[in-house]
Symmetry: C2
């Protein structure tokens, strides 16, 4: 998905929020915003939003001299999600259709996304998503592919959301490669966050080798690119993966909540929608 | 009130909305946003938000070669407000305290403000504001001053809101000078909008001589500055007048709804609040 002019104000807001989360003082915050303006001035019109977000968050990490601005927030999100596990387990046990419930929980966890907003109510979201009709539901094709592939590449999104993904991975018989970011960006999950969620007990964790949001293939390590190229089936979580991989064909299944009005417009469903959508082959 | 870093993303969003309302094509919209970045890069930290908004909207008018981008939207707002008049008149007739009701209606009309959002529900707002407790209510002092002054300078805000102000002006025995913008900016009322609302039948309409939002005294005509300097009592409507005149002393009474989270923080009341507040003398 290309970057719309509507995204500009959102990058500026996001940069300020992230600067503050990183502990930047007012002068640093202002300096970061001015550098963001320069990025937007020189923007290649074909860039996807996560490519711009990548540059924005790189600036913030530079200004505050490295580290992970979102470490505490990510740990808190994982702890909050882990605390819900007994209740999530109950939902799984009581489900008439466990696979559908596991998909819904994985989508529910996608509310933990600091790009559109740093505020969310986790349990409220779970309750909503458990019964909400899908805006797109390619579940039939999803189930069919699950039965035929030997391995699944699962592109993780955010820390804490990782806890919710476990239920889906546990239910699937096929081995899963769980791909996380190679370094800190926003509240995206890294190896540390996947391990804290216990994903290492149910899947092999791999790094994309990139610290950009979403999955920008050109930024990933050669090792990951090979895994990606050879993947028969890909589960891609969240908005940024949709933005970067929306034209990557029918082996990709997007699981996400629509939280951004511009993505809503691009995908054709209102914000608040829950989506399980199979990718289309580029026209 | 100074411009906060939080205002930056808001200016970018507002510039895009205004560009589109002005009929700018995508290339013009992008060119406008890049010029807005340059304004923000060179911003004097002491500037108030309406001073920046002034520059932003000037760029838009330049890019689309003059005219009034908000003319149709302003006419629609005035028509919508005029259509409510019989119901507003009924509220006035049934009111135990007509002055309080007239103040509330004038504040209710302040929802017609395209700076924070181009969406609002006028009648819903009237019903809410009719019974909502004031976050600040310096009505006692307001009533006392009303009895002692010979003339009131009323600083108008938006087109359509002008219709709501009439009820307050009609109720006040003291002659009112109703000051509107000297040229188009955002959906702020100009002479044309005040006349369309029938304000000319209840007050003398004067122009500030400035087409900046709020009241930036240095930008106003000498004639208006003299009226302002000599005013015994000033009723200042809306957020932009609060932002530009918050330190102008106790002869100013601010009537507004808080619609912006940054103003909310500055004034100390949550968004959604209704306010009748006497100005403080600068410390």
């Amino acid at each position: 998905m290309k970057t719309y002019l509507d995204c500009y104000s959102c990058f500026v807001r996001q940069a300020l929020e992230a600067s503050r989360m990183a502990g930047a003082d007012t002068e640093q915050q202002r300096s970061i915003l001015l550098r963001v303006f320069r990025i937007l001035e020189g923007l290649d019109p074909e860039s996807t939003p996560p490519e711009i977000a990548d540059s924005v968050h790189r600036i913030i990490r530079q200004e505050i001299h490295g580290g992970d601005p979102y470490r505490a927030a990510k740990d808190a999100a994982t702890a909050q999600a882990l605390a819900l596990c007994p209740r999530l387990r109950e939902l799984m046990d009581d489900a008439d259709d466990p696979l559908d419930m596991a998909i819904r929980l994985s989508i529910a966890g996608n509310i933990i996304d600091f790009a559109p907003s740093i505020k969310f109510d986790l349990w409220d979201t779970v309750q909503r998503v458990c019964t909400q009709p899908y805006a797109a539901n390619d579940q039939q094709s999803f189930r069919r592919q699950l039965e035929h592939v030997n391995r699944i590449l699962f592109l993780a999104d955010n820390a804490g959301e990782t806890v919710f993904d476990r239920f889906l991975i546990e239910l699937i018989d096929t081995p899963v490669l769980y791909a996380v970011k190679g370094g800190p960006v926003l509240n995206d999950a890294t190896v540390e966050d996947a391990v804290a969620a216990g994903v290492d007990r149910v899947a092999a964790i791999v790094s994309t080798g990139s610290d950009a949001p979403g999955t920008i293939i050109d930024h990933c390590s050669q090792e990951f690119r090979q895994l990606y190229d050879n993947a028969e089936m890909i589960i891609a979580k969240g908005q940024a993966n949709y933005e970067t991989l929306s034209k990557e064909g029918s082996r990709v299944f997007f699981l996400l909540q629509i939280k951004c009005p511009i993505i809503a417009q691009d995908i054709g469903f209102p914000t608040g929608s829950i989506v399980l959508r199979q990718g289309r082959n580029e026209q």
